[in-house]
């Protein structure tokens, strides 16, 4: 038995939409019966990636477009968060724990570290001046038994 489903969400790069994005994706993932911890992990990584797109990708300009797609394949959720913003100059540096390009904004520099820790996989594709795509996936434990 295999199960597939998908969703796509587009919204303006406004900080008000951070909560909207994480709650919407969490609602979509809920059909896999995740544990409370798994759901919190998903909400947190969505919040991190969307915040990055707003602050770094679009430099806090509210006119940018953020696209989230989520796909469920059996017991795994695949999520991409995409912006057409400024891109990341040095990915190796950006993913270092505590590294931030904006210390004046009190950024903790933990965004990518959290995404790497809370998800099973994380990949970043970026082009300067064109934008960034973050792809992540996570297997939902409660569904493992059904598909093993």
């Amino acid at each position: 038995m295999s199960y597939n489903n998908f969703m796509k969400l587009q919204f303006a790069s406004r900080s008000e939409n951070e909560a909207f994005a994480r709650i919407t994706v969490a609602a979509f993932v809920s059909q896999l019966d995740p544990t409370l911890n798994e759901l919190t992990d998903i909400k947190t990584v969505i919040s991190e990636a969307v915040t990055n797109a707003i602050i770094h990708g679009y430099e806090n300009e509210a006119e940018g477009l953020i696209t989230i797609s989520a796909r469920i394949e059996d017991d795994t959720v695949h999520i991409t968060i995409e912006d057409q913003g400024s891109g990341i100059q040095d990915i190796e540096q950006a993913i270092q724990p505590l590294f931030t390009s904006k210390p004046e904004l009190e950024r903790s520099g933990m965004g990518f570290t959290i995404m790497e820790n809370f998800m099973d996989n994380m990949e970043i594709t970026t082009r300067l001046g064109e934008g960034t795509i973050v792809r992540m996936s996570k297997r939902i434990e409660s569904k493992k038994a059904l598909y093993n």
Partner: protein
């Protein structure tokens, strides 16, 4: 999804109760309110009371670290109490417990600072 901030001065400690969701959007308000309170009141210590904080991400860590630096510069301490398991995981992962003391509730937080009545 918003955030409510409640503050109470208890001798030299400022108790800050955060209720709701602390993300990049709400962190700005927390930063402004706490910065002002730390400057205005003669607070030496901060107790962050997080019983009703249901969500937090790295923007929350940033604002907490910022206030930690502010209070340390004045010679004070920061104590966190009543923390939810999901937020505990984030604190632990980011190493925040290496610098911030964790207590189970506001009363024990106050006693640990030696400002309990």
């Amino acid at each position: 999804m918003s955030l409510q901030i409640e503050m109470e001065q208890h001798r030299k400690a400022l108790i800050v109760r955060l209720k709701g969701e602390l993300d990049h959007h709400t962190a700005e308000i927390v930063k402004a309110r706490m910065e002002e309170a730390i400057r205005r009141e003669d607070s030496l210590h901060i107790i962050l009371s997080l019983k009703d904080l249901t969500f937090m991400d790295s923007s929350g860590l940033g604002v907490i670290l910022g206030r930690y630096k502010q209070i340390i510069a004045k010679g004070g301490r920061m104590v966190v109490c009543d923390i939810q398991p999901e937020i505990y995981r984030l604190f632990e992962m980011s190493g925040l417990f290496k610098i911030v003391v964790l207590e189970s509730n506001e009363r024990s937080a106050l006693s640990s600072l030696g400002v309990a009545l």
